[in-house]
Amino acid sequence: MNWYNIVFYAFAALTIISAIGVVFSRSILYAAFSLLFTFFGVAALYVLLSADFIAITQILLYVGGILVLIIFGIMLTSRANKVEVKRSTFQLVPAVLVVGAIAGTLIGVLTTTNWPTANFLPYEETARPIGALLMTQFVLPFELASILLLVALIGAVIIARREKGKRA
Amino acid sequence: MQYQFLGIGYLTWITFLPILGMIVVLLIPRANTNAMKWTALGATILQLVFAALIWVNFNPALTGINDVSKFQFVEQTTWINLQGAGWFGHVVVQYFLGIDGLSLPMVILTSLISFVGVIASWNINKAQKGYFALYLLLDTGMMGVFVALDMFLFYVFWEIMLLPMYFLIGIWGGPRREYAAIKFFLYTLFGSVLILLVMLGLYFSVSIKDPVTGQMTHTFNMLAMMNPANYDPNSLLGGIGTYWRDVAFIALFIGFAIKVPIFPFHTWLPDAHVEAPTAISVILAGVLLKMGTYGFLRISFPIFPDAMLKYAFPLAILGFINIVYGALCAMAQTDFKKMIAYSSISHMGVVLLGIAAMNTQGVSGGVLQMFNHGVVTAMLFLVVGVIYDRAHTRGLDDFGGLANQMPVYTGIMTVAFFAAIGLPGLSEFVSEMLSYLGAFQTFQWVAIFASIGILLTAGYMLWALQRVFLGQLPEKWKGLPDVNGRELVAFVPLMIVVILLGIFPSILLHPMNASLNHLVDFVHKVGTGLSAAK
């Protein structure tokens, strides 16, 4: 049992437990905070997978961006603590059954699959090659993604804007 | 070619002048209706001029009928040339025009009636552009039928004429115009189908040697169809007096009989006449009905002389039925126009009786009667049109005493009525007399019984005359104006023709004689020859 394993299991547990918290939390605000930990856990896993750049991005974007957005959303749409977080959309039992089936299937597949290489590759720096890739091979998706973000930005502003005339 | 104008033959001119007029009419802006009328008038006047030229240059000694060298003003070029398409081989359709003594009167009649019809159309007040365009198209169709010598071409013209007629009745007609138009259309189309079938049957039975390639090819040439030697021995219509030749003759007969119309295929006529606008009634009665009998003489009889002689007696019987039945039906009518429509049936019966006799007098009388009836019945329909324009009713019993109110009109009408009665000195007398003379020689009793028609005609005509023109004038018609100058322009040429041909029928009979005598000879010779050979 080396340190790597210990760290992995620790963060994996953190991730999963906090994800459980997201899903099962009665309060939406707690759920949001649980999500924070999940994101951290995932970032840690990225580090364990030698994806330093992604890990940083994960923390910056998810924690600093998306999660903040979500919390803003929660704040704006409701008095957070009064929100009834009911799971009435889908029957609990069928939901659990379905999800269990999926989980079972997935895990079963993943564990029984004989992956071609199950060994770590040597660590390599990732930030530079990723930058190079984005500017060469993936330049079109990259630009499209930036345009998408721009559009999303403007769209979000327009959609979220309160239309005064209509409210009357 | 001798008779050309601007390098184009007279017959092409006379046939397609109206099409030129139609194009011009179509180019005229919608609002400028006067220009359309004058264009149509101009086209028909030019047509009349060509008809006159043809008449003047016509050589009465040439026979025609089955001999292309005896036709006049002939134009013959290949029109459609389909090379070797499968089982029907090499299709050649010729643009083959020509006239003889049989078509000459019809060409003149068509030009004359078309001209008069335009004048009668002057008051059309709905969609003039369409009206005059269709009218001129109709004119081309009619003229084409009378000058075509290729059966395919004949059929094309026959059908060209059908569609404008349908629209002219269906759009510009009276209250029940759609019914009448559809009835007319379906009847005629039914006939056309039969003609088409026979035409195809003949096509596949007749072969002539292609002048270029020297191969035996099928042909639509009518003149070739008249020669028994051109029939392939084992073809459907080959042979002599065979079952299929009889069938083809009867089918062709029905096709043409619908146009004449011959009892019992006549019921489209009263409806079409009553609903059609005046000018179209004039065309319908004046020219269209003649196409049926023209078809008999041009196509049925010379191509199937054996069957013609075999069925001559039933034809005469049908003629008799037409005469008496039409007259009796006319007597029962209370609608002026319907009465005249039935009188047309009666008078066309005389034509049928005459041509069924298949002798010189009968055929001459029949063809002359075709011409005379065209002119006289045109006058009669114009007469009705005049009164309908003014009073908007055609009931015979709605009028009375118009003789004092409209003296000139009454005078014209009297001439027309007595011409229809067959008063000597007016044109129809001569033709009826010749028809009866001919019929009497061949079918004595039929002619005797048919002469009852003379009496009945006098009966219903005079009765109608009395009801409309004599007696006391009803108060409401006190304001009716007499005929105006435009109407006189339509009437006067017809009246002149009626009187002139009554006194000097020779001017028209003379050019016809050679052809018609040849036709009689031909039918008897070939017809009996075929029968004897059997």
């Binding site: 992995f8 899903v23 998810y62 091979q137 | -």
Partner: protein, 105 residues
Amino acid sequence: MMVPNVGLTQFLVVSAIMFSLGIYGVITRKNAIMVLMGIELILNSANINFIAFTRFGLMNLTGQVVAIFVIILAAAEAAILLAIVLNIYQQLNTVNVDEVDKLKN
């Protein structure tokens, strides 16, 4: 070793569990924001897969690039979704997805 050495499978299993939890969240929650959070979980689980495969040589660096795109899309999605939620809330005074059924009927 009682505990197996950490390899590709372990990462994938973590990812699978997260995925299932995300699904569960999406399925069971009414609140649109909660649904969004479920979706984020799913996306994260997918990212873990990408990066794990990259790390274990089944994918070259492309996996990481894709992961970056996923993150970008997630951000855009979150922004739009929250804007929509806000709008719906203003219009209908609710953020429960099962009550937002104006398109139905």
